[in-house]
Structure formats: C-alpha cells, structure tokens
C-alpha cells in the first residue's frame, strides 16, 4: 500500500487494467457471434437487424452493443466510392479539344485532368524506357502510327547493356570514387548476365520518373509548409495518416482515378513517397539555427537565394534522409504496383511468388535490392560532392569522365555490331540478354529449397505447428475475445493516463472509427499479428542493439546492416520466409519480425549512443560496473529514443502484416487485397487503409506523448 501511495501512476494503471479485465469477464460472448475464416461479418443470422442511419440502411448484429459496436460507418466506403465515380464521370463536364477526332468533346474535368496527367507520365516513362531498351512509342507520340507504318526504320534502337553498365560505372566513379564504381559495374553486369536486363530497365525507368518527381514535389511542399503556417496545418493530418497508411490501400482508389499501368503506378508512388519527404524537409528546415538565416540575410540574399543557397543546403542532412526514404518507397512501390499493372522486376517477382518459384523470385528480388542500394548510394554521393577550385586541371582531366563515356559508348555500339555476326543464330548477347536467357540460378535455389524442406521438414513442421497451435491461435482467440467496449476503455484510459484529456479524445476518436467500421474483428486480427511481431522484434532488436553497443565497431557495423536491410523493398522479405515456411501465418509473422527488427535495433543503438559522455564518466567515477551503468544510466536515458524506435517498429510491423495478405492472412490486408479486384473496391480499400493507419496512429499518439513528457522530465527534450 505504501508503495502504491508513493506511485499514484501505478495505482491508476492497475485500476485501468482491473476495469478492463472486469469488463472482459462481465460481457459474455453472444451466441450468434462467429468469426469465420474468409467470410464477411454479415452472416445470415436470425437476429440480424437493420436500422436507418443518415439516410442509409445499416445492418448489424442484434447482439449486445457492448460486445461489438454496430457498423454505423458501413456507408462510408460506399459513399467514398460513389463520390469518386461521381467526380470522375459526372462532375463539371467541359468542352475539350480532342486531337484524334479533331473536334470538341464533352468530358468531366477530373477525367480530363487525369487523362492528361497519365498521358504525360506515360510519355516520360516510355521515353526513358526506350532510351534504355528501344521501342516505338516515343516516336509515335510525336508523329502517328501511320508514320511508323510508312517508315519502318523509325525506331529508337535502345542502348546496348554494355553502354548502360559503363555509364553507371563512370557516373558512380565521378560521384563517389572507385568503391561505388566497382559496385555499380558489378551490379549491372550481374543484372545483364542473369537475364534480368529488360525488367530491370523497366523498373529503373519507372524509378527514374517517380523518384525525382516525388523529391521535387516533396521538397516544394515542405518549403511551402515551412513558409506558411496555413499550408502546414492543412498538410499535417494528411501527412500523419499517410505515415501509417499501408501502401496497398492507396492502390485501389488510384485504379479508379488513373487506370492501370506504369503511369498510375508512378502517380501512386508519388502519393506515398511525397509525405515522408515533406516531413523531413520541414524537420530539416526547422532545425536551422536562426543565426544562419540571419547570416544569409545579411549577406544580401533575396528570398530565392536564401532558400536554395542557405536553407536547403544547411538542412541537407534531413533532406538526404528524405531522399533515401523516397528511393526506398519507390522501390517498395515498384513491386506493389505490379498489382495495378506496372511492368518490370516487381511483376516478375509477384508472378514467381504466385507460382511458388522461389528461385526466380529470389533473382528478381536480388536485382531490385541491388539497384535500390546503388541508387541510394549514388544520390548520397551526389549530395555530398564538392568542387575543387584550386586544382589546375588540363582539358583532359576536367572532361575525362565525359571522354570515357563517349569512348564506352562507341565501343559498346561496335561490340553490339560485332555481336550481330557472332551470334547469328541466337540472341545478340552483346546487345541485350533476353529475359530468362541468361544464366539462371533459379533451379539451384529451388533445389536448395527442396533440399532444406526435405531434410528439415519434420522440424519446420513441428515448429510451425507448435507456433500456430500453442501461441498464435490462443493469442488470436484472446484478442477476439475482447469486448469492443473493454478495448475502448483500455485504450482511452491509457490515453488519459499518458497524455491527459486531449490524448484520450484523439485516441478515442481513432478507436471509434475502427470500432464503428464493419471490420473491427479484422482489425483485431491485424493488431494481434502486429503485436506478436512487435514483441518479438523488440526483444531481438533491443538485445542485439544493446550487445552491439558494447563495441564501437559492432555498433557501426550493425547500423550499416540496418541501412542496407532498410533499402530492400518490403516484398523481398517474403521470399526467404516462403522458402522455409510455405504459405502460413508463420511466414508472414517471421517476415514481420525480420522487417520490424530493423528500426528496433537501429533506435536502440542510436538511443544508447545519445547518452552524453559526461554522464558515462560521472557513472564510471561513481564506481559502477558495466552492467550497472547499462541499467542505471544508459537505459533510463536512452529509453525515450528507444520508444520512438518502438513506434517505428509498430509502423513497420503493420506494413508487413498488410503486405503479408499476399501470402494469405485473414486480417484487414486480405480485404484490401480483395478490394483490388473489386469493381467497387476503391471505397473499401481506402477505408480499410484508414483503419490500418488509425491503428498505427493510436500507438503513435500514445508513444509520442509519453516520449515528449519523459524527455521533458529528463531534461533532454
């Protein structure tokens, strides 16, 4: 009792838990309630009732409202859908000049905008794609199909792979130096001789459009949010939701607005990639010391010069992290947008996964990851490049990279020409190695997988069964057993205890939205999978992070590993787990754990590192041993930062759980995936996405509020 009096917070938490469990036990499971795999919540049921809300008919179970809230928001997806269709097909019809038919045509404004936008995107993508691979579309865009028919020579020839490889190597050398150049060269050669050239270049052309556009728009919006409070306020909620919105969910509305294909993929990628860029730009600009801005002003900068010569370069570090994020998201989306018809490696990867051809999937995944790492490093090197004003260079030295590239260009063409004689009967390997005609290691991997499966089948099976039967199923049952009211009380109570009435209201609103949607049960399943993943990830991440922190070089190495793993598109993580565990929940969860361990580890190391040296010394002089120092000094101080890591871990875990729907789960993600093939799926997809985003935001809000308070308390804000 004395203890509780001293720590009123603990008492409050205990009270909250008691209320929660009391509610759990007090509210019986209604007899009509069933959670059936793969089926919608509306089971035919004698007790099923309907009532009219806001002009719509709402169906819900007639059982206890304390158990599950009625799906009052059931109309929302339909409404979103109707609005989208209305906007696209009926809103603001206007006269537009049609080039093909040479006449004015009436079209809804939004449709026209969307068509123009997609047309423009398609053109840029095709242009880059045809420079790399050759083709007709670009010329057609300027002339017509008739012109092509009349002039059979009119075709962009495409660059031989040797030239692209040499170009990438020389560019890397110019930007960074030998190391990156060798990496670039090897990557390109690997891609080529393993027969992934064409899809890789398709993906690359997609990235080369999506990434710069995302960067420019993100930077621009970030700047305008920095300059105007009003823009910031308008952007903030969107940014917040987009941060935790699963990428799948945005695909569906995009289908309606922009159709199917690479152009839609680019636009959707931009929508996903721009928010983090905005956030980081804003963060970077905010952190600039006021004196630097004043120094710029006193140097006589006008607004333009101040922004581009002083502010942005000074905020470079954060903006670069933004670029890194943009590239990550672009590659991640390159795979996911294969669902809406983007060509390239992503498409091959999905196809291979669908056929359970792990070897092929692995090759495609490796290519994507390699290109992702390469572009990431190149952009970083580009931003850190500096000029030498004093070197007295000769013409050759100044232009050696250009000269080398021209040389490589000519040699490449000559080689390709020679190739036409060398490989008369087969493909011209010096021009382009066709897909699946290169060396393929797929068989090797597949055999390997088979071998592993044959050899360890018993153990894997046993582990799998144990995990599912003894851990996952009970855990899921527990989650589903929670009455809605109990959950809401728990979450809102936590919000109140952590952040006061304001936090409680925010959290309550977010939870109610999910509870009133028709997918509460699915949301619980998503939460259970995410929780499991997060707990294991945190255990691993905090342990690994703490261990690595003990040695400087190990910490540095681990951060590097995290960097590289983070660059992998999220889908790639599914490959190895499917290799081992097949199509089960275990696969998804292991992918979740691997993916979510990255931020957990990173933030642990960074948090421990951020403990001031003076405190270390003070602790050492007080005579603590290593273990005491860790538990008494380092953990308490690093804990707020580690909690931010937990926040990231949750977001990562949620993302992966949703992506895991591809393997087959029965949570929100599965419904998003279903919505993709549904004609009226846009509203459902978006609402589901918002549900997932809100799950993330609930934790985000709680954790952030706690961290801010704790940091203030510790005086390290």
């Amino acid at each position: 009792m004395e203890f509780l009096k001293k720590n009123p917070k603990i008492f409050q938490w205990l009270f909250l838990l008691i209320v929660f469990f009391a509610l759990c036990f007090a509210i019986e499971v209604p007899e009509t309630y069933k959670f059936i795999r793969g089926q919608a919540e509306f089971i035919k049921d004698p007790n099923q009732s309907t009532f009219v809300f806001a002009g719509k008919e709402v169906r819900y179970y007639a059982f206890d409202v304390f158990w599950r809230l009625p799906p009052l928001l059931g109309w929302l997806p339909i409404w979103i859908n109707d609005s989208l269709f209305f906007l696209m097909n009926d809103w603001m019809p206007m006269e537009f000049w049609n080039e093909d038919t040479q006449e004015f045509k009436t079209r809804p404004l939004l449709l026209q905008i969307s068509r123009n936008l997609t047309g423009f995107m398609t053109f840029i993508i095709e242009l880059i794609r045809e420079i790399l691979l050759g083709g007709l579309e670009t010329i057609v865009a300027f002339t017509s199909w008739d012109f092509i028919d009349a002039n059979p020579w009119a075709e962009l020839p495409g660059l031989p792979w040797t030239i692209v490889a040499a170009g990438a190597t020389i560019l890397s050398y110019k930007l960074s130096g030998k190391g990156l150049a060798i990496f670039a060269g090897l990557t390109m050669v690997y891609i080529s001789i393993f027969g992934q050239w064409k899809p890789s270049m398709q993906t690359l052309s997609f990235i080369l459009v999506a990434a710069p556009l995302s960067f420019i728009f993100g930077l621009g919006l970030g700047i305008s949010a920095f300059k105007s409070k009003r823009v910031e306020k308008a952007l903030y909620p969107i940014l917040l939701v987009m941060q935790t919105m699963p990428q799948y969910a945005v695909l569906v509305p995009a289908l309606v607005l922009f159709g199917v294909g690479d152009h839609a993929a680019v636009i959707i990628t931009m929508i996903v990639a721009i928010p983090p860029m905005i956030l980081l730009t804003l963060l970077g600009l905010r952190a600039i010391p006021p004196e630097v801005i004043e120094a710029g002003r006193m140097s006589g900068c006008n607004n333009w010069q101040l922004m581009f010569k002083v502010l942005i370069p000074t905020a470079r570090r954060d903006i670069l992290i933004g670029v890194n994020q943009v590239i990550m998201v672009c590659f991640s989306m390159a795979v996911i947008s294969a669902f809406i018809g983007a060509k390239g490696l992503g498409f091959n990867l999905l196809l291979a996964l669908n056929q359970l051809n792990i070897g092929l999937a692995l090759e495609a995944g490796l290519c994507i990851s390699l290109i992702a790492i390469l572009l990431d490093k190149m952009s970083l090197a580009w931003a850190n490049k500096q000029t030498d004003y004093f070197g007295n260079l000769s013409f050759f030295e100044r232009n050696k990279n250009t000269i080398f590239f021209i040389g490589a260009f000519i040699i490449g063409i000559v080689l390709a020409y020679i190739g036409t004689f060398l490989f008369k009967d087969t493909f011209n390997y010096l021009f382009e190695i066709p897909h699946n005609k290169g060396i393929s290691t797929a068989d090797f991997w597949n055999k390997g997988v088979d071998w592993i499966f044959d050899t360890f089948f018993v153990y894997i099976k046993a582990f799998n069964t144990w995990l599912i039967q003894d851990v996952l199923q009970p855990m899921r049952a527990l989650y589903l057993r929670m009455p809605a009211i109990a959950t809401i009380v728990l979450v809102v109570g936590a919000g109140y205890l952590i952040g006061g009435i304001r936090s409680a209201l925010v959290v309550c609103g977010l939870t109610l939205f999910i509870a009133l949607s028709p997918w509460w049960d699915r949301a619980l399943v998503t939460t259970y999978m995410a929780t499991f993943g997060v707990i294991v990830s945190c255990l691993i991440g905090f342990t690994v992070g703490t261990l690595c922190f003990q040695s400087k070089s190990a910490a540095k190495f681990m951060l590097g590993v995290c960097d590289i793993f983070q660059t992998f598109p999220s889908f790639v993580y599914l490959i190895p787990v499917m290799m081992l565990f097949g199509i089960t929940d275990t696969s998804v969860l292991i992918a979740v754990i691997v993916y979510a361990t990255i931020p957990a580890t990173r933030y642990t190391i960074e948090g421990l590192r951020s403990v001031p040296v003076s405190l270390h010394e003070a602790a050492t002089m007080s005579g603590v041993n290593k273990f005491q120092r860790l538990t008494k000094i380092e953990f308490p101080l690093a804990f707020p930062h580690m909690m931010l890591g937990l926040n990231q871990t949750i977001v990562f875990a949620l993302f992966m759980v949703i992506i895991g729907a591809f393997i087959g789960t029965e949570d929100l993600g599965q419904y998003i995936l279903k919505a993709l093939s549904d004609k009226n799926g846009a509203g459902i997809g978006l609402t589901l996405g918002i549900c997932v985003a809100f799950i993330g935001l609930i934790f985000d809000n709680l954790i952030r509020t706690w961290v801010d308070k704790r940091k203030k308390h510790l005086g390290i804000a």
Binding site: E291, V292, M298, G300, K309, Y389
Partner: protein
C-alpha cells in the same frame, strides 16, 4: 565630428500581437511592466544615439537586456516597432526589399555569436558566399575570398569545412565573410562570447589590429564589460531595453550614471582604463619635476614612472604643451584609494 553613419531616433522594439497599438497608446512613455501584463515584451525602449564614421560603439548588457534586438533593428533583421533609423542619411525603415538587399550586399557586414557558417561550404566558399550572392563570378569571388583568408590568417585551411575548425578559427571565417564585400558598417553580435578566454583575448587583439587597418564604423555587442572597455570608443550600457548610459569608457568608470552601471564599474581595474587626462589636475603648479607624461597614456603604463618621482609630474598634450599636472598621491588614490572607501 563627421556626419553620423548610424543614427537612431527613439527606436522601440516591442514583441507581441498588439505591439504597435500599445506603443501608440503609451505615447512615448513605455513601461515594461504594463506592457508585459498585456502580453507584450519590450525589447528595445526608446533608444536614441549616433555612431560616427570610423567609430566603434560597443553595446553592453546582460542577456535579455535587448542589445541583440537593438542590433537586429539596425540591421533590419527585425523591423523596429517605432522610431527612426538612418543609415548614412537613408531612412532604413522606408527602404523596400530590393533597396535593403542592395544595402546589405554593399554596405553591411555582420558577425554572429555562434558563427553561423554554412556547414556545406568550405572556408573559402563561405567567405566567397556574399560575393557570389552579389553576382560576382566564381573565379573573382574565390580569389577575393582567398585575400580575406590571408587577412584573417587562415591560409592553408581554405578547403576545410567549418566542422573541422576550432571555435576561434570558425569565427575568423565569420569575420572574413562579413568583410568580404568591404562593407562600411560592421555589426558584431557577441562575436567572441563563445570562445575560450585565451582565444578570446587573441581574437580581440586581432580585431583591434583589423579595425586599425580598416577603420570601419562598428556596432559591437557584448555582455563582457572588460571586453567593452578594451575595444570601445564609446559604450552604451543597456538594461531592460533601455540605454542606461552612453559614454566613453573613462567617463563611465569615473561617473557611472546609475546604480546599475556602478555595479559593473566597481571591480574594474581603473589603471587599465583611465588615461592620465582623466585624473590629472587642471592647474599647473610651478613646482614640476623633470618627468613629462602624455595625457593619452593609460595610467597603468606610466604609474611606475610617476610613483618613483618625488615631485609632481607635468602632463603634456600632443604639442608637448603642459596642460596639467599629476602627483603620485593622485595615482595611488585612483588605483587603491577609492576602492578602499567603497569597502
């Protein structure tokens, strides 16, 4: 005295939403307390002064006294709430944006407490920055910047990044940058406050050397009274936005205008600040010894000579004309006497 380069006429800077209305209502009688009750904070309160060409005005005050705010009003990094500021006869507050930028590009230079160097540029690029902003091409600006690098003694480090330099070196870059456009007016906002004492002294000497050579019109902000005494032609002491006293160092030490100023002057070693002129007797008795001292000497430098004399010492001006006298007792009184009384 030549024409004033900087001229302030009852400048006010008040932070807060209704600052201007409140100021108009107050009608020249601004009371910090009433303003604070209405959610306004008084930064600068009725500052009027002039700085002549080639003069160094040091504004001294503790943190929160409004000295930096005053400087930012005069460089128009913030707009003054009331009053008038003239730079070389031009009304600063009337300038449009373009004219202001022009003024800053050609006439003003500023050094900052935290150096405010651009982290992505090397030493030479930082110094060349204002020149490049002006539109001077790369080669010319870099070669001009290299002259500046030599002026502040950083040759050999021109390709270093700010993060690779010590604090003193970084501030040298800041000084070089502010001088690169050859401004007439030089603002320094606590330039040496972030430096170690030894480095600070070195930089002060360096600064005096530069000023000797360049003869800029200077406004120098500091919270260090000793620094103010060492550098200033005149000192303005600020408290709560009000200039308590504005005078030469000697006069401030001898006649502190307010109790607040007196507190600063108490611990000042007078012999290091006062000149012979400040303490001599105007009357010239006939009973002078052989020794003559110049009226512009600092007491410390000649005290030993005077104290070894038995007779009264004559004080001479530049033309070797005797204008007064000083006897050893006077010196002893100046250095030790008054302080004893205070205790």
């Amino acid at each position: 005295m030549s024409e004033a380069v900087i001229k302030c006429e009852s400048v006010y800077k008040i932070f807060g939403e209704n600052a201007e209305k409140m100021l108009q209502k107050a009608n020249g009688n601004v009371d910090a307390k009433t303003f604070q009750e209405n959610g306004c904070i008084v930064g600068v309160n009725n500052a009027s002064f002039e700085v002549a060409k080639g003069e160094m005005l040091v504004v001294m005050g503790l943190s929160g006294s409004g000295k930096s705010t005053l400087l930012r009003c005069i460089s128009r990094l913030t707009d003054a709430t009331g009053g008038k500021i003239f730079i070389e006869g031009q009304d600063l507050l009337e300038l449009n944006n373009k004219e202001l930028i022009d003024l800053r590009r050609n006439k003003m230079g500023m050094v900052f407490q935290s150096f405010a160097l651009l982290p992505h540029k090397t030493v030479v690029e930082n110094i060349a920055f204002p020149l490049q902003i002006k539109g001077i091409n790369t080669d010319d600006s870099i070669s001009k910047a290299m002259d500046m690098v030599k002026l502040v003694g950083l040759d050999g480090r021109e390709n270093y990044f700010p993060r690779e330099l010590s604090g003193g070196q970084q501030q040298r870059v800041g000084i070089a940058r502010s001088l690169a456009v050859e401004p007439d007016i030089w603002f320094l906002d606590e330039p040496f406050s972030a430096l170690d004492p030894l480095i600070r002294k070195e930089m002060q000497d360096e600064f005096l050397r530069l000023q000797d050579k360049l003869q800029k019109t200077i406004m120098f902000i500091t919270h260090d009274f000793d620094e103010a005494l060492k550098l200033a032609d005149r000192i303005a002491i600020m408290k709560d936005g009000i200039i308590e006293q504005l005078d030469t160092p000697a006069k401030i030490v001898l006649n502190p205008a307010t109790e607040y100023v007196r507190k600063f002057t108490e611990e000042v070693p007078r012999e290091k600040v006062l000149l012979i002129e400040d303490v001599m007797d105007q009357s010239t008795s006939d009973n002078l010894g052989d020794l003559r001292v110049s009226k512009d000497e600092i007491i410390e430098n000649v005290a030993e000579k005077i104290l070894t004399q038995e007779k009264t010492v004559g004080v001479i001006d530049k033309n070797n004309k005797i204008i007064g006298s000083i006897n050893p007792t006077k010196i002893i009184n100046t250095v030790f006497g008054e302080r004893k009384n205070r205790n």
